[in-house]
């Protein structure tokens, strides 16, 4: 078969191949995937239950850990009052815009690194140094250079998203299988056509992996910059709540972040499946 095993990126935890053996015909029959989901939902529900009843029946100090129902009630109130949509919207806007800027710069940079020695000589050391560095340390500089509002936050997010994206794209584009390239060339494809018609689709699994790593990084960076700089946004709201010893408000922020992160990450997984419909990983 084709040597595509190398191109297999991180896989979502899903049951193994097409082992859809007809389930025994007694009781209710669920597919392995449904069982998987059901168990995972049950685990989350159990933890939520422990939180709720632990806090409610005095096992835990309700100030240090307010019951889940109270936290959800607060989110509901703020939702109606209109602060949650504004904060969530702002956080999402900063995270996604920063992420998009990181991708728009990082993907071409990674491709160029793989295709041009000059670009690689220039960028490789910068990426090697920058990738493991805690990017948030640059925040004071970005505040100095830009502002204390959106611009510096978004640039901070773009900066931290850039590194995983450029590294994954470079890795993906520099280890391409030569055979599809050779066949495209034998059909008469020029260098520019090769880039769009062969290199990009072939490197797509790794590029998407880079994007999938960068997106949570972007969310983390957004929340942290909001916490450090204050103002609106989920991170800012949490810091405010913390300063006012409003533990319910802090936990409301945490629950919002959990939900936001889950939705965003799952959406990207679905997009990945759509794009990589040709890839064996999509048929697990």
């Amino acid at each position: 078969m084709m040597n595509m095993a190398q191109a297999r990126p991180i896989a979502p935890n899903s049951p193994s191949q097409k082992q859809k053996l007809p389930a025994p015909r007694r009781g209710l029959h669920l597919s392995p995937h449904m069982v998987d989901v059901a168990v995972q939902v049950a685990v989350v529900a159990a933890l939520a239950g422990i939180w709720e009843f632990g806090a409610r029946f005095g096992a835990l100090n309700p100030f240090l850990l307010p019951p889940l129902s109270v936290v959800l009630g607060r989110i509901w109130e703020d939702l109606i009052a209109g602060t949650v949509p504004v904060d969530l919207g702002l956080t999402l806007y900063r995270a996604l815009l920063g992420f998009a800027i990181g991708a728009v710069i990082g993907i071409p940079a990674g491709i160029l690194m793989a295709r041009s020695n000059v670009v690689r000589w220039f960028l490789d050391p910068l990426v090697s140094i920058g990738f493991p560095m805690p990017k948030i340390a640059f925040l004071p500089i970005f505040i100095l250079w830009f502002d204390i509002y959106d611009t510096s936050k978004i640039i901070m997010v773009a900066f931290s998203c850039f590194f995983p994206i450029v590294a994954a794209t470079y890795a993906g584009c520099s280890s391409l299988d030569k055979w599809p390239i050779w066949s495209a060339r034998s059909f008469g494809a020029g260098e520019r056509e090769l880039l769009w018609e062969v290199y990009l689709p072939m490197a797509m699994p790794q590029i998407l992996t880079g994007l999938q790593v960068a997106l949570p990084v972007g969310m983390i960076t957004t929340i942290v910059t909001e916490m450090l700089m204050g103002g609106r946004g989920v991170g800012g709201a949490m810091i405010m709540a913390g300063r006012f010893a409003d533990s319910v408000g802090v936990f409301a922020g945490i629950v919002q972040i959990i939900i936001l992160g889950f939705v965003v990450v799952k959406s990207v997984e679905m997009i990945r499946r759509r794009i990589l419909i040709w890839h064996p990983e999509s048929r697990r």
């Binding site: 078969m1 084709m2 040597n3 050779w182 034998s186 059909f187 062969v198 797509m204 040709w278 048929r283």
Partner: protein, 277 residues
């Protein structure tokens, strides 16, 4: 298997057949380092316009390397390779190739794989559609047009790759063990099909194989290559009727040639095994 062909199909860009001239070609892998490996040593080969030529030899004798050099995929280090279009310096649509490992585009369906080459060759939309359908049908993949390569067996992928290359109707057809992944039955049918296409369309074919019977069945001339470093040891004319079908297998000349060539190849294979130790 449909043995009908697109007869005198309208062409937007005709690739005329051409001979291939290989003179004094040597090739060393890792030539820039000290421990370079000499793969081809002084190859001289004249393949006539419209000839079906088989390169036969043990594995590792450099026959694929020679094919890739003719294809322009790897640069010629020593010697000259030329077609009627001039010296070969890069791959081009006048020399289409079927790779041993298919080299399909995994992100395209079977049909889109076939359409890709047709589009590059400049066929118009209606021709592309018609030719894609015809060649997919010829390799028995009708019903799998919308399957991705990873959903197909190795043999099916190989047939898709053959359809993709034949569809563009190249003047020179390079084939690197193209039937290797097929079962014996399909293999025989594809061999007959290829002979028929070649006979009807006057292509120059260079066909790499290590299967003696396949070479004798298909070729006008066979070059037998030596074990590494690859040299052309013998060039044998195959004096068999142009129309070859199942019955040729019982032809006295076919059997005699096969046995003669088998002995020559065996010598090289034994030498190759000894060289490996």
């Amino acid at each position: 298997m449909s043995v009908t062909h697109l007869s005198a199909s309208p062409r937007s860009r005709a690739h005329t057949a051409s001979g291939i001239s290989v003179r004094g070609v040597s090739h060393t892998y890792g030539a820039r380092t000290a421990g370079g490996m000499l793969a081809l040593d002084g190859i001289d080969l004249e393949i006539a316009d419209g000839e079906f030529h088989c390169l036969l030899g043990p594995s590792g004798c450099g026959k694929s390397t020679l094919l890739y050099l003719i294809g322009g995929f790897i640069p010629v280090q020593a010697g000259v390779i030329a077609t009627s279009a001039g010296p070969v310096t890069s791959p081009g649509p006048d020399r289409s190739i079927v790779f041993q490992n298919f080299a399909l585009f995994p992100w395209k369906t079977v049909k889109d794989n076939v359409l890709y080459g047709l589009k590059k060759a400049g066929f118009n939309a209606a021709e592309r559609e018609q030719r894609a359908r015809h060649y997919i049908d010829m390799v028995h993949l009708t019903g799998f047009e919308n399957a991705y390569p990873s959903q197909l067996s190795g043999g099916m992928q190989q047939r898709a790759a053959i359809a993709r290359t034949l569809a563009v109707d190249p003047g020179i057809l390079l084939m690197d063990e193209p039937f290797g992944a097929l079962d014996a039955q399909t293999r025989r049918v594809m061999q007959e099909e290829l002979r028929a296409i070649w006979r009807d369309s006057r292509k120059t074919v260079v066909f790499v194989t290590h299967d003696v019977q396949e070479a004798v069945f298909l070729a006008d001339r066979i070059s037998i290559m030596s074990a590494r470093p690859g040299r052309i040891q013998h060039v044998i004319d195959v004096d068999l009727p142009k129309d070859r079908g199942e019955e040729i297998l019982e032809n006295r000349e076919f059997i005699r040639l096969s046995e003669q060539i088998w002995r020559l190849v065996r010598e090289q294979a034994v030498a190759a095994t000894r060289g490996a130790h």
